[in-house]
Symmetry: C2
């Protein structure tokens, strides 16, 4: 897929270089997909780490410097920063440049970024369904996107060549690409990612509010199921705040359904209705089987073995 | 700790031999903790598999046959079966025999088993905080209890020598032993295990009710957090039905707290209160850190690497 003689892009600019941005830098370099990789990081600490790690060719403080002469720009910051960043870099954007992103919501991204892009600049929003609960440039790794899906949500009328090129890029990173509308994306992710995170944050929060004597026991005996929630609930607070602020409708709808279903189980527990409990607990095994069959059952971190096939 | 010359017990009888029972059989054999290991399994299929696996010396259809001459008996079936099993085996129990179990709730177990045991039989209920979402004798493995906690909940007046012997047994299996009241156990497990399972079953059930077109996407894009819930929600329906029927009060109390906390986050999402979201999301990181520090952060299956130390 990727041309090994000539890189796919001359210069890729990553705006923000934390877990996702630095994984993109590593994977892009490893697979020779760019002549040059540059990044933008607001903090000196991050700029220093990134240069020390040697994962980019140059790092700049401002977006307008970083995007200079780039033929692909990827926003890799929390989504609430997108509007300002797009505005800041727009004076330096030339026709033919592709702008993409990795944000976990997509309708708001199109609303926030689209209006700032000059004519002739191609906007192809994206979202890799890959990540861990860790943050920052040191948490990234080149294999993060391997065997994982990347969803692209091109607005109506997107340049076909630009879409094809971004698709080739993600495939060269090891991902499978799926194209859908931003609206559909936000609905699907509300149930597969956003609601699970909200619930995990909630239950870990509930445990945090227990009396101190009980908290030590919560930590000690977390292996009974709770610790799987704590991993999710250790994810970046800013990133997730932004997700919920920007996918309100879909999250609230799924939350409403979840609450109704929880009430049914709560009632069954209260009244000792074992048949209802058993029946509901049986239904859910099929979905797990589907995930195992689709080879998406590995744990959240692609470096861990996919041991669910047995 | 275990005496390599003379086994700790002459004959251990496992009543029920699924995931937990067969893991006990394997680990007991591997570490030479019993002169003989026998099991009881109601179905012929299970009896055949167990003999084929070669993990016990003999397997019987009825509890009364299996417990003959055993000096340690461990109940390893769903907790709703305990009363009948205890009644069935009681005629064959001799003074000095130790009866224990692995059930995930403890107050109901003492209520159900205690009255059936003849005088002089020592009852020391237990619960290993270790497991996977798989069931049956083929799912077990000898390392399941390694580095995991086992909680013992001896009733008031339990024979000290019997308690010491069971403690030695679990330590020889690689576990750390903690002693607490059954009431405290049931409260702690309500938040660390029972509520997480109820919530995981619920959210996976909510996804199961989506239109069919969306379900395929739920499976495909599950890597965003959802799949961690599907693993928990693939656990045995009968075992979990019994847990909820037998730990009603504590589960309902924790569920009430959870629902209140979820309402706060729901309101914050609805009204776009980013500071409340961020604040709550920050609090939960400390608990994760505690779990990592306590070396209980590995995934649910002890065979998987504990990669959360970074
Ligand atoms: N984490 C996941 O699992 C995951 C998965 C898929 C998609 N995503 C999406 O990927 C994006 C980045 O997530 P991440 O996990 O890589 O986050 P991260 O590790 O926390 O990195 C965030 C980066 O954005 C920069 N940044 C933060 N606020 C900024 C601001 N106001 N102005 C300029 N730069 C700012 C940070 O700079 P400093 O280092 O200087 O603070 C850092 O370089 C998010 O939009 C998220 O929705 C995340
Ligand atoms: N799974 C976990 O993660 C976990 C963790 C800690 C504690 N526990 C506790 O361990 C116990 C066993 O769980 P498990 O995961 O090992 O279950 P499992 O793999 O499903 O095995 C259950 C065993 O109990 C037998 N059984 C079921 N119903 C029975 C009945 N009515 N009469 C006689 N035998 C019956 C089964 O016999 P057949 O094979 O003939 O059907 C099988 O041998 C439960 O009390 C559970 O609460 C489980």
């Amino acid at each position: 897929m990727s041309d090994t003689k000539e890189p796919l892009f001359n210069r890729i600019a990553l705006i923000g270089i934390g877990l996702i941005g630095s994984s993109l830098a590593r994977a892009t370099k490893q697979r020779g997909l760019a002549g040059e990789i540059v990044a933008c990081a607001r903090s000196k600490a991050t700029r220093d780490i990134v240069m020390e790690l040697g994962i980019v060719d140059a790092v700049y403080e401002t977006p307008v410097e970083a995007v200079q002469d780039a033929d692909l720009i990827i926003l890799c910051t929390p989504v609430s920063t997108y509007a300002d960043l797009a505005q800041a870099m727009s004076p330096a954007l030339k026709p033919g440049t592709i702008v993409s992103d990795v944000g976990s919501v997509k309708e708001s991204v199109i609303r926030d970024v689209g209006p700032h892009l000059p004519d002739g600049v191609h906007f192809v929003p994206g979202h890799p369904i890959a990540g861990t609960e860790h943050s920052g440039p040191e948490a990234g790794f080149a294999e993060l996107f391997d065997g994982r899906w990347c969803i692209l949500t091109p607005p109506v009328g997107t340049n076909a060549a630009a879409l094809a090129k971004i698709t080739t890029y993600w495939e060269a990173l090891g991902s499978m690409v799926e194209i859908m509308t931003p609206h559909h994306h936000d609905k699907v992710l509300a149930i597969t990612s956003h609601l699970p995170h909200l619930i995990a944050y909630t239950i870990v929060g509930t445990a945090t509010d227990l009396e101190e004597s009980q908290q030590a026991d919560v930590v000690k005996f977390s292996a009974g199921g709770f610790r799987d929630f704590t991993r999710i609930a250790a994810s970046d607070p800013i990133m997730w705040r932004d997700v919920f602020l920007n996918n309100r409708e879909a999250v609230l709808e799924m939350l409403q359904r979840f609450s109704e279903d929880l009430s049914v189980l709560q009632r069954a527990v209260r009244w000792g209705e074992g048949d209802i409990l058993e029946d509901r607990f049986r239904k859910t095994r099929d979905i797990r089987r589907g995930i195992v069959d689709a080879h998406q059952a590995g744990t959240f971190d692609a470096r861990e073995p996919d041991n669910d096939g047995n």
